[in-house]
Amino acid sequence: MENNQVKERGMKILFLIAACASILAVVLICLFLFANGLPAIFEIGPGKFLLGTKWDPTNNVYGILPMIVGSLYVTAGAIIVGVPIGVLTAVFMAEFCPPKLYKIMKPAVELLAGIPSIVYGFFGLVALVPIIRNLFGGSGKGILTASILLGIMILPTIISISESALRAVPRSYYEGAVGLGATKERAVFFTMVPAAKSGIFAGIVLGIGRAIGETMAVIMVAGNTAVMPTSILSMVRTMTANIVLEMGYATDLHREALIATGVVLFIFILIINLCFALIKKKEA
């Protein structure tokens, strides 16, 4: 009896420590980011930093608006490319897929999620870039290429979460619709999909999170010029690319400005996660 109680308490503490470790990591990262980044933002001036269109570290001019815009454009492009394909794939896999094909598709989607991002980048560089260059001219690197590549990269997230959301919808919804005379397609698209709406949105939001935070793949296909993009074929530099490209050399204010870029990125991710939490709450 006594022995069991000791064990019980011991395990409780162990679990508590495990839980604290991840919270501690988040807190430390927040502290590090804000402690190093915020002073730089105020030294440069929040307006100049967030709305400045010129990034010229050699002369201590740090405006990250082109990078913010770049991240937003590329992410928006990824949504346009990835969401329709992802959601439709999920609907297919949950409702229409023959079991034999499903046995191939499910592992294929999972494999897509496991491919390292640098491999995606290399694929983009040797496969996508020449196609875009031949179709539209220019260098082939830019918003469009990065959007397509990111669209592919966020597919697994969207597909697997949407699929499980669809599968979680009670079967009676489908049966009811069919019983009322709806065709299979109608039953799926007008009862199942709306019923799984919040789960599907959660998948999309997580996909957005992945797209905005992606770095290595984007660096290889986006062209990375720190100027405001003027067309969908313009080269862009995302916030993540900005940090990676220059961190190795940066000193003093330049380094802090890069960390401050990380702060802005962190706030974006925070907003995305907040959206995710809100959707989840609505669902519950």
Partner: protein, 289 residues
């Protein structure tokens, strides 16, 4: 939702169509990231970065130049895009790209050595004091004819500080740390391999970072030898660091093998990389005077 999606697709198509105003022979300029030793050397040689009177540095690199953070990506981009131009270390050249002549001089190790090919930079090592016997012996190896042969075998140009004499030293054991430029690292790795074959008891640790970091660690006594792909700044020599040139690296200006241009003047390279020349049609292929 449905309408919104259709609208989004329509928008995408319109932007695509209007965005296609590129002509066929626009030059795609490929540059390196700010702070890279290769970019620094390139910009300085072609005077793309210039010190202003008020102490600021004016970098006139073309705003629409692509920025990449590795030699491999520069080469792959140029090898696939027939309108691209970029620059890489001569030691990395291969057949997938074409190196153009500058002012009529071919980028060869020989021309770098005799000074006619001007686009080159020194590879330096830096030490703080010359008291450590192992460091001293390693440097004597690097500058001996054996060491300089290793340098040349890699496609770099031997240093004028190098001697004709062969390496005769021997150290029984010891441990040194070398840190700095990622451009110099491949040369240092090869030199280390060859040196350790002669002195099996010595351990050499190479830490790859960048020139500035390497020199700082030497000044602070954290590492024994620093590697730099640029000349030392006065603020660095003031800290008592002594630079030694171990090799020269030519920078090759590379274009696609299909590109008919074989020769560019220094002015043309400047104009291309600052965006004054934006089309290949502005460069006559017959520039041999």
């Amino acid at each position: 939702m449905k309408q919104l999606r259709i609208f989004a697709i329509l928008l995408l198509v319109t932007v695509l169509v209007t965005g296609c105003g590129y002509s066929g022979d626009m030059i795609d300029v490929v540059s390196r990231e700010d702070g890279s030793g290769t970019r620094g050397a390139f910009s300085e040689i072609f005077k793309i970065t210039q010190k202003q009177d008020d102490g600021t540095v004016l970098d006139s690199t073309y705003d629409n130049a692509e920025v990449t953070n590795s030699t491999a990506v520069v080469m792959l981009t140029v090898s696939e895009d027939k309108n691209a131009i970029g620059y890489i270390s001569m030691g990395s050249l291969n057949d997938s790209v074409k190196a153009v002549d500058i002012n009529g001089v071919a980028p060869t190790a020989e021309n770098v050595k005799n000074g006619t090919y001007e686009v080159s930079r020194p590879f330096l090592i830096a030490v703080r004091d010359r008291e450590n016997a192992v460091v001293e012996d390693f440097i004597s190896y690097i500058l001996s004819s054996d060491g300089q042969q290793v340098v040349e075998a890699l496609g770099y140009v031997s240093s004028e500080d190098g001697s004709e004499a062969r390496y005769t030293g021997y150290v029984k054991s010891g441990r040194i740390t070398v840190a700095g430029s990622s451009s110099v690292t491949p040369v240092m790795e090869a030199l280390k391999e060859a040196y350790i074959k002669r002195n099996p008891g010595v351990e050499i640790e190479i830490q790859q970072s960048d020139s500035t970091t390497g020199l700082t660690t030497v000044a602070e006594g954290i590492s024994d030898i620093g590697m730099s792909s640029r000349e030392l700044k006065t603020s660095e020599t003031d800290k008592g660091i002594i630079p030694i040139t171990i090799a020269y690296d030519g920078l090759a200006i590379i274009v696609n093998p299909e590109n008919p241009v074989d020769n560019l003047t220094k002015e043309q390279v400047y104009d291309i990389f600052t965006g004054k020349i934006t089309g290949w049609n502005e460069i006559s292929t017959d520039t041999t005077e």
